[in-house]
Amino acid sequence: MLTRRTFLIGGLGVAGAAGALVVGWSALPLRQRLVGSAPLPVQGAEVPLNGWVKVSSDNSVTVMMCKAEMGQGIYTGAAMLLADEMDADWTQVKVQQSPIDKIYNNLDNIVGDLPFRPDDHSVFEELTVWMLRKASRDFVGTMITGGSTSINDLWQPMREAGASARMMLCGAAAEQWHVPVGECRAENSRVLHPSGRSASFGELAELAGQQSLQTHVVLKTPAQFRLIGKPVKRIDGPSKLDGSAKFGIDALPDGLLYASVLMCPTLGGTLKDCDDSVARALPGVVKVLKVDAYNGGTGGVAVIAENVFIAMYALDAVAALGIEWNHGAAADVSDSDVVRSLTDALEHSEGHAYYSRGDVDGALGTAARVVSAEYRAPYLAHAPLEPMNCTVQVTDDGAKVWVSTQVPALARKQVAKVLHMDTDKVEVQVLLLGGGFGRRLEVDYVSQAAAIASEADGRPVQTIWSRPQDMTHDFYRPACVSRFRAGLNRAGELVAWRNLSASQSAVAASLKRNYGIPDPLCDRTTVEGAFDQPYEWPNLRVAQTTVELPVPVGFWRSVGHSHQAFFVESFMDELAAAAGKDPVEFRAGLLEHHPRHLAVLRRAAVLSNWGRPLARAPDGAACARGIALHEAFGSIVAQVAEVSIGANKTVCVRRVVCVVDCGTPVNPNLIRQQVEGGIVFGLSAALYEAITIDHGQVQQQYYSDFPIVHMDDCPVIDTDIMSSEGEPQGVGEIATPPIAAAVANAIFALTGQRLRTLPLQLA
């Protein structure tokens, strides 16, 4: 008989065994990332040497690319890592999108979302990171291009794959020449022997493929790098100058039909009823159908037609007859409700403290001077230039998907779910992304396209959103309100800082809609940029309170940093002014124990001639400088903006000096590109962008009412990269956060107006 006691003991035994398994699993080293679970696809004479590289008899070296190219230059940067260790001739290197496999899972993405400060090197932090990296490799991870993690994630495995391939090529040469392998070395896609013998990688390819896999490799020292550290030009450059580059929207499989969708104008709504009689009768229209809401998106009506123009025209015909919608929960929400919800949360909650130190209330009570401020940021759309689109062909055998996405494995899984198929029946072809910025971390448009294509009798269908559909059905950067209260002592030193912000949680929303995972109760991205900065003073508390609203929110380039950097670095400037100190010196005083940050700050001051008189703008207007320092994605950035005020109180940003410390600069050319692009992206938000909501409906539709920086308002950008031999860190998002604060601080210096709401508008 099973007694309560034996049951308990049995239960403990099971739990103990499970616990032992977990302990055992976590003690094992990280599972290899060198070879995937299936052989690589090959063409012609290509020979795979591991899961990351193929060599062909024509001497080409094909690097398998597990990251999406969305402008950040990862095709080039990641291929350099492998090619350098392989000693491959860069001119022979090609890139091919990799299949979906666990060896390509991003191990750093989830780690980047852990609520640890960069200076936390505790045993708990290290153990958690270790466990999560292992788990990402084995269970919870996915292929993902995001979070500025690509170079960091690939730094080890792609160099190891290159070194391993080089050893196999050397092994092949040694076998052919009957010499010890240790006497062979590789250089510029050839293996060389001191005897003078040499052979090209192409000549050795076949024999190299028969060598045993080399798993113990010795990586180069920085002094031995030949590509890493060089301003190598983009490998995808030429194809983008003659129109031959293929983006998602350029997938044109035979027999292609096109679809366009009109979704409920209220976010999250669905179609109730519509009259499609006129649309169906139009020449070229194949089908009019209802589409559900997928992955946190919105439902609506779709037209499948012979070309895009007919599909869009037919949708207008449907709309002209009036459409009945189920508007859903968002219909009750307008901007004023959002602001009220956020400020109410600030009034009634202490929030979750992500970092606290000392006795804030005590220090505020005894401070010589207390400064308070409230800052605000609006919802923002990603608005990549290539609108959401996805091409799908559904046949009896399975489905094929052509898409520009940052998450191919998730896309495959969701398509399989929509089509009630096994995942392995779905093939995903990732094409170039015409901008991502976080929008293509979502799969609403992919699932929707699969559902539409399933109605096309086996013909492939490309579903393309119009610009208004793209703008009004995004997953927006959360709106945020943040309050600060800080104390200065008699010497003007910062002694206390209390900060509480309120916003929605993008991580919670994304986990729910895309992975079916419940609310993690804590979301680092809501408060990154506020709790994790290097400045030190005795007493602080940085907290966040999460508000639920029926507005879909997501990951917008630099995520929480995008607004928190504006808040923190603007308020820091307010404190410097209150203390009567120079903004650079005030910050420097808080960085005594952070030499890297201090060096970046000082360098930006030197390069911008900080403190020296500034010439007038060409229109004769006075100019002033503003500075901001920010750490994000492992990199440190300081920016100085030079600003004047033009006609009609427009803010003119003349020049931006930007200094970055991003660890080893893998490719200074790409880093400069990302700094320039990140600044322009952030400047559009600083000066112009805002998504406003009226009864659940987004009010902006085009770049005309959601303006971005153009050629004529783009500043001169001077970038300086600190030399470093540290591990390379993210660069794709780092330049976006500080620019709004640098500009706002310059406006304050110029006009005395402290602007605390984005976008920045002078009174």
């Binding site: 070309n307 123009f309 320039e676």
Partner: protein, 152 residues
């Protein structure tokens, strides 16, 4: 059926005459170098040349084009284009690349008209084509370099 003059060739197209050139290029002719961005002429991603002038193709209804010489990125040639592509490559302008066909179309029309454009000329000619990646500083530098090398 309409006949269009595209990249120096007469091309018969069967799309409805009310169709904008953009969709004829992309959907009927499979010429995907010209990109869709907004459909109302505010982003400039679909810029082509009509008789040598930069124009958005999303608003150019084919029935109105008559004998206009249409040039797309696939057929862009001439000394200006060669100089611009060399400068684009030398300065490594592109990021995502989605707008770059249009940037090159706009820039080559500019150089044809003004061989040594000022910054203001560049602002006037290029501010109709948006780049969400923010390649503007490099585009400006590349236009200046192309002008210098071509005339120098």
């Amino acid at each position: 059926m309409l006949t269009l003059d595209i990249n120096g060739k007469k091309v018969m197209v069967k799309s409805d005459p009310a169709t904008p050139l953009l969709w004829v290029l992309r959907c009927e002719l499979g010429m995907t170098g010209t990109k869709f961005g907004c459909g109302i002429g505010v982003c400039g991603a679909c810029t082509v040349h009509l008789d040598g002038a930069a124009q958005v193709s999303c608003l150019a209804v084919i029935s109105t084009l008559g004998n206009s010489r249409i040039t797309t990125i696939e057929g862009l040639g001439g000394a200006e284009a060669v100089a611009l592509k060399a400068a684009w490559s030398n300065i490594d302008v592109v990021q995502c690349g989605y707008c770059q066909s249009a940037q090159l179309m706009a820039a080559s029309a500019l150089l044809k008209q003004k061989p040594t454009p000022s910054d203001k000329d560049i602002n006037d000619a290029m501010s109709n084509v948006v780049c969400r990646c923010g390649t503007y500083p490099r585009i400006r530098a590349a236009i200046h370099e192309a002008a210098r090398k071509k005339t120098g």
